[in-house]
């Protein structure tokens, strides 16, 4: 008879570790230890994560018994954590290892992480939404503590004593009286123990943290600065061919005519065609590139909206109409001062420095794919659909990758490599070019945002209305107190392919909210900081705003032609405020962002240096979308698909920066890779207004570098 795991006390000899079928094959207790080797393990199931914050991010009916992570100590004492989360530069490989090392009384170097491998790691929906730290970190902490309990109980059994008095240090358990000791290797030797995480397990209190909470450097840091780390684009398999895919010059084009005869004549080149999918392979990428250029094709161009029509297109093709709420209308009628504004937010590109890359190999009907994706299990499903083979026959691996920012939720390059590899019967690598990345990946959604706000004669915010067309509902709800409000996301027809981007629509929505709040303050001749504080009741946000403004010197006198601006908000448990100082040349109208001060609070801090790096990275990447980034397109053609024409922040663009981290050891940690981006654009916009009086209501704010009036 199979027994439920959590009914079992310690040493559950008769359990079935993974009763449910997992992606990557049903893992039974026997196959688990066969795969991992004997040892001692603790695991987390999905329902353990459901109890935590952000439970709503799981879809209904998700298998609650699906294993979500585990930690295993093998017979050599090696500690390995398995999680489907992936490393794309957030340095979670480091922060999660810190949390585990802390509980197991070992060093960070003693913790090994296997991440994002559909065969070896448990199912995971993906690494996005700032969920790794709030969900995975606290649970891995408990899983590690549970492993510690198992190790201690094993030692106690060995010595035939009670477990309460046992001490452990650096991977060794000490006998309380006779000086004997047992290493984790000795304890795990010959064992096949696994237990579900003990929810009530004692964890090391945050105040006693020695490893977590400190600036441990990036795990494997040396391999990156020596060029040794193997990204997917670097991977080489025996007899591997280099693949290229034929792209139309326009989006949504249909293949009309095709002539591959010249390309086929090139030695070593194979041409693959499946409907509109045309690709070539060659023994080296130089030849593949050349062969691709030798293909002649004509494409049928489809009429489609251009950037000029973007915002009217989004409004005219809306899938619903804005609802008007009677109570909000009434409140507006009573308002003394009103602001009504429309905001335009352009499409921008993630442009991760490592373009999409995929390597695929078929072996007796089984498919192996390596690709840089934030959703390896999602890519496994893409491949399942594409090739109609069972998931169990598909293994997707995700080596630590050259960033994503929300832009790598898909597996295009992996799918293309697999198609080509199947056709030619050899492994294939497909590395996208920068132009492909700009044209064929997806963008941060463009948006049209309409906002109305009103204050009464006492300066009290009385009515608020906000409609977001297309860019998304994240961050749509204003954090400010107002008795009558209505906000609505209205989906529309998007001319360009769009998807997730760091902080989703919060960047756009907070830009609109913080701009209108600023305008409302100025309409009344009020200080924008005071006006905000009067309407905030969230203590965490108030604190971070106050401390940031104070660090920035909000009250201080400004030098000529300089302006101050601020903005604040919260995303997924991260509270942020940004203050900006800008200079606008009175003659040339040229803008210079001089200083950005960002305050951030996301609960307990696990790694201060890496947290600061994430905050700064968000702020400075956000500078691009705030000031100059925009995808330009005309009737299906992307007009700036290159770094020479699509400007991203560089050394010269970087202002003086300061980061203020507010540590709250009393609160669970939240993610930091998203929230700090939201304040940049509105803080700069408001600072520009402070100098020039101009209200700029579009992102990017100053694509030409000059304030246009």
């Amino acid at each position: 008879m199979k027994k439920q795991l959590d009914e079992n006390p310690i040493f559950p000899e008769q359990y079935e570790l993974f009763e449910k079928k997992l992606a990557g094959g049903p893992i039974t207790r026997r196959s688990f230890f066969k795969r991992m080797g004997a040892g001692i393990a603790s695991y987390i199931v999905v329902s353990d994560l459901l109890a935590g914050p952000f439970a709503e991010s799981f879809s209904e009916g998700e298998d609650e018994d699906t294993i979500a992570a585990w930690i295993h100590v093998n017979e050599a004492g090696k500690i390995t954590c398995y999680t489907g989360k992936v490393e794309v530069g957030q340095n979670i490989r480091t922060s999660l290892a810190q949390v585990v090392a802390e509980e197991l009384f070992v060093q960070v170097e003693d913790i090994h992480f296997i991440m994002g491998d559909t065969l070896l790691t448990p199912y995971d929906r993906g690494t996005f939404g700032s969920l790794t730290t709030p969900q995975m970190a606290p649970k891995l902490r408990k899983a590690a503590a549970s492993v510690r309990e198992l190790l201690i109980a094993t030692a106690a059994k060995e010595w035939n004593i009670g477990s309460t008095s046992l001490q452990m240090e650096q991977g060794i358990v000490f006998h309380p009286t006779n000086g004997e000791k047992l290493s984790y290797a000795q304890l795990a030797n010959g064992k096949k123990l696994a237990q579900r995480v003990n929810k009530e397990v004692h964890v090391v209190p945050v105040e006693e943290w020695k490893i977590a909470g400190t600036s441990v450097p990036k795990v494997n840091g040396k391999s990156y600065i020596t060029g040794r780390h193997v990204y997917v684009s670097d991977l080489v398999l025996p007899d591997m061919q280099y693949g290229k895919v034929l792209r139309p010059p326009y989006l949504n084009a249909k293949l009309k005519t095709l002539d591959t005869s010249e390309a086929e004549k090139v030695k070593g080149v194979k041409v693959v065609q499946e409907g509109d999918f045309v690709g070539v392979t060659a023994p080296d990428s130089t030849t593949a590139k050349m062969a691709l250029a030798m293909i002649s094709a004509e494409w049928e161009r489809k009429q489609q909206p251009s950037r000029k029509q973007l915002f009217s297109h989004l409004k005219e093709n809306a899938n619903n109409q804005p609802d008007k709420k009677p109570n909000v209308e009434e409140a507006f009628a009573k308002g003394a001062k009103k602001v009504t504004s429309s905001f335009h937010v352009d499409y921008i590109a993630h442009s991760p420095l490592e373009p999409r890359a995929g390597v695929a190999e078929w072996n007796k009907g089984e498919l192996n794919v390596w690709t840089g994706t934030q959703r390896p299990f999602g890519v496994q499903e893409e491949l399942e659909r594409e090739f109609g083979i069972a998931k169990e026959k598909i293994r997707v691996r995700m080596p630590d990758t050259g960033s994503g920012y929300g832009g790598k939720h898909t597996g295009e390059a992996g799918v293309e490599a697999a198609k080509l590899a199947r056709a030619i019967g050899k492994p294939v690598k497909v590395n996208w070019t920068r132009e492909e990345e700009f044209m064929w990946a997806y963008c941060r959604p463009a948006g049209l945002i309409e906002v109305r706000g009103a204050v009464d004669n006492n300066g009290k915010l009385v009515a608020w209305e906000m409609f977001n067309y297309n860019s998304g509902g994240a961050g749509l709800e204003s954090p400010y107190d107002v008795p009558a409000k209505h906000q609505q996301f209205i989906s529309s027809d998007t001319p360009l392919r769009q998807g997730s981007y760091r902080a989703l629509a919060s960047t756009a929505n907070v830009f609109a909210i913080e701009s209108v709040m600023n305008d409302l303050a100025l309409e009344q001749g009020k200080d924008p900081m005071k006006f905000r504080m009067e309407h905030l009741s969230d203590e965490r946000l108030k604190r971070v705003l106050k401390e940031t403004a104070s660090k920035f010197g909000w009250e201080e006198e400004k030098r000529p032609n300089r302006g101050f601006g601020l903005a604040c908000g919260f995303v997924k448990g991260g509270y942020v405020a940004t203050c900006a100082e800008v200079h606008v040349d009175p003659d040339t109208k040229e803008l210079k962002v001089l200083r950005l001060v960002t305050g951030f609070e996301c609960g307990a801090i696990i790694n201060p240096r890496h947290l600061k790096s994430q905050v700064l990275g968000c702020v400075l990447q956000g500078l691009g979308g705030a000031l100059f980034e925009a995808i330009d397109f005309d009737n299906g053609q992307i007009l700036n698909p290159a770094f020479s024409s699509y400007r991203v922040p560089r050394f010269k663009d970087i202002p003086e920066t300061e980061v203020l981290l507010v540590n709250r050891p009393d609160l669970p940690p939240a993610g930091a890779g998203e929230a700090p981006i939201i304040g940049v654009a509105p803080a700069i916009r408001n600072a520009i207004q402070d100098v020039t009086g101009e209200r700029i209501n579009s992102l990017p704010l100053v694509p030409s570098g000059k304030i246009m009036t």
Binding site: V88, G89, Q90, N91, P217, K218, G221, K222, Y224, I225, T226, G227, R228, H229, V230, Y231, S233, D234, V236, Y242, D284, S285, T286, T287, M290, H350, S351, P352, L353, E354, P355, D400, T401, G402, S403, Y405, N431, T433, R434, E435, R609, H610, S613, Q614, L616, G617, V619, L620, Q621, L623, A642, F643, S644, V648, P649, R650, F651, K652, I654, T657
Partner: protein
């Protein structure tokens, strides 16, 4: 054709007129040098040709004949990191680190030309290198550290 990379001579195939980047990565298995844009606009592929930082992605391999090529793999000598690598490691600069090789090679080339560059000179020299994670302030700190050690 023969080229000299990191102090070693290699025979390479050039009949298809490959770029230096393609030769390094595919023929010599030196994958530390990265592709980022293919138009010399991002710096991910920077290598040194006789000490000058050049974008390998637009440099024809044949043009490197007779020159001393140094890649990221050639900076470490006898298992000892180059002082600039050392500084980048200590400053724990990177997030995804895909730009790391190009950044470090550019910084090494700068400090070899000018042992004590000003802040503006550093920015000028490094402006062709993109870090999409925007770890620019940390990179500046690492270069400052390497510089002060050299001085």
């Amino acid at each position: 054709m023969k080229i000299n990379v990191n102090g070693k001579s290699h025979t390479i195939k050039v009949s298809a007129n490959p770029t230096l980047l393609e030769v390094l990565r595919e023929q010599l298995e030196l994958t530390g040098t990265k592709y980022g844009c293919g138009e010399a606009a991002c710096g991910a592929c920077k290598v040194m040709l006789d000490g000058t930082p050049v974008p390998a992605c637009i440099t024809p391999a044949v043009s490197a004949q007779g020159k001393e090529i140094t890649t990221i793999e050639g900076l470490e000598k006898d298992g000892k990191l180059h002082p600039v690598q050392e500084a980048f490691l200590e400053e724990d600069v990177f997030q995804c680190a895909y730009c790391a090789s190009g950044m470090i090679v550019s910084a090494v080339a700068l400090l070899e030309r000018n042992a004590n560059p000003s802040r503006d000179q550093i920015i000028e020299a490094m402006n062709g290198n993109i870090c999409r994670c925007c770890t620019y302030p940390q990179i500046m700190e690492a270069i400052d550290k390497a510089k002060s050690r050299k001085a």
